[in-house]
């Protein structure tokens, strides 16, 4: 019964700053003994939410595509790390595409009331937001946070922490950032330790 960590990258830019941070986070989690998996949304084929509200009347989403099995994997993860760079003061259209498709879970939770996460479940499931932004403004992530809060709420994860780095235009790349990659690695380890404790799993000490 290991801790399962699922990292989802919503960046269209392969191996860019945000994906590098996600990789560091997953590495840290792996070193702490977790099973890690990374999904790159750009590699999947899916359509955004159609806004049809069919899920408000009938259970589930009428759109069946690569996101359908991904939602099952999200449901079976102990830790969900969602990664997106900030474009135009928000997350990318790719990650927003995934999040909007979560509407059927919102409908289960708030309309049909067939979905309920106990406080204990939420405590054992941790959500992390990983992001980078070119701009230096401190408020550059503010537009993204409420969207992530909403998604972690409908997927049953406690919004555990952010791993965010702004001012990328100045640093050139994440490799030039003094602390971000190390922070990601450490938080990966830390979250697995925290979940492991709650699940009663001994975390593997770092070599």
């Amino acid at each position: 019964m290991t801790v399962r960590v699922l990292g989802i990258s919503g960046s269209p830019h392969r191996h860019g700053n945000t994906e590098t941070l996600l990789d560091a986070f997953l590495e840290g989690a792996g070193e702490a003994g977790a099973t890690t998996e990374r999904v790159v949304l750009k590699e999947l084929s899916y359509s955004p939410c159609q806004g049809c509200n069919a899920c408000h009347r009938k259970d589930g989403c009428i759109v069946q595509d690569d996101l359908t099995p991904l939602f099952d994997r999200i449901a079976s993860a102990d830790c969900l790390a969602l990664a997106s760079p900030i474009y135009t003061m928000g997350i990318t259209a790719e990650l927003k595409g995934l999040i909007d498709r979560g509407q059927y879970l919102w409908a289960r939770k708030y309309i049909a009331k067939t979905l309920y996460y106990s406080r204990d479940h939420i405590r054992r499931h941790k959500g992390v937001f990983i992001s980078t932004a070119g701009q230096s403004w401190d408020h550059v992530f503010d537009g993204a946070f409420p969207t992530l809060t909403a998604f972690f709420d409908i997927t049953g994860f406690e919004y555990w922490d952010n791993i965010i780095a702004n001012n990328m235009d100045r640093y050139g790349s994440i490799r030039g950032h003094p602390t971000a990659t190390q922070e990601a690695r450490e938080k990966g380890e830390k979250v697995v330790g925290a979940i492991g404790k709650l699940k009663g799993v001994e975390s593997t000490p770092r070599k």
Partner: protein, 209 residues
């Protein structure tokens, strides 16, 4: 010269609440003489997400060929850009976010290449209208969307003070906006105010031959 209005409905649901609000605003603007309106729905055209390649910082154009080519030219030519979106998960819908992100080419032009987005004589004479409909009623439900759409307008050379807002909360089901007590009236007023402001910017006789 007519006053050129470019309207974009970004929601996936045709004739949904945000598009209905848009149509009310456009109808109100269209009653005024000399206003030329063109409307697109992102459901009918194709605007892919931004690839984040930053090539526009060098090329001054996007490497992707889709309907953004057409919208790009219309965005430059318009006196007024009207952007309508439903709020999904506390933000602009994914389809609308794709359009906003593709405005990166304007950002590159303006801030990196330092090439004017519109000729100097048209600066400060462009109006933006942001229309959003949200199912939720929280007072902060539009905050995230406004941050993004402001960037869209700023890079397309619409000043912060020249953005009009029509934000309607608590409408979710199809057609629900029709039953909203004040939305239609607010939409009509927004349209009238937009035309008045455009005439102020462009000269009192703008559009009237």
């Amino acid at each position: 010269m007519p006053i050129k209005v470019l309207a974009i409905a970004t929601g996936p649901r045709r004739h949904g609440n945000s598009e209905t609000l848009l149509d009310w605003v456009l109808a109100s603007m269209g009653e005024e003489p000399g206003v030329e309106i063109e409307k697109f729905s992102l459901e009918e055209i194709r605007v892919n997400p931004c690839r984040g390649c930053n090539a526009c910082e060098v090329l001054n154009k996007c490497v992707q060929r889709d309907d953004m080519d057409m919208l790009h030219d219309k965005i430059v030519a318009a006196d007024c850009i009207v952007f309508a979106t439903p709020i999904y998960c506390m933000g602009i819908c994914s389809q609308g976010k794709a359009l906003v992100d593709r405005a990166q080419v304007f950002r590159s032009r303006k801030y990196v290449l330092k090439i004017p987005v519109v000729p100097p004589e048209r600066k400060g004479k462009r109006l933006g209208v942001f229309i959003a409909a949200a199912g939720q009623k929280m007072d902060y439900v539009f905050d995230g969307a406004i941050m993004s759409v402001k960037c869209f307008f700023h890079v397309t050379e619409v000043k912060d003070k020249d953005i009009e807002y029509l934000l309607v909360r608590g409408v979710d089901a199809a057609g629900e906006v029709e039953t909203h007590p004040t939305a239609k009236e607010e939409a009509r007023a927004t349209g009238k105010r937009a035309v008045a402001r455009l005439r102020e910017m462009l000269g009192a006789s703008a559009g009237i031959i």
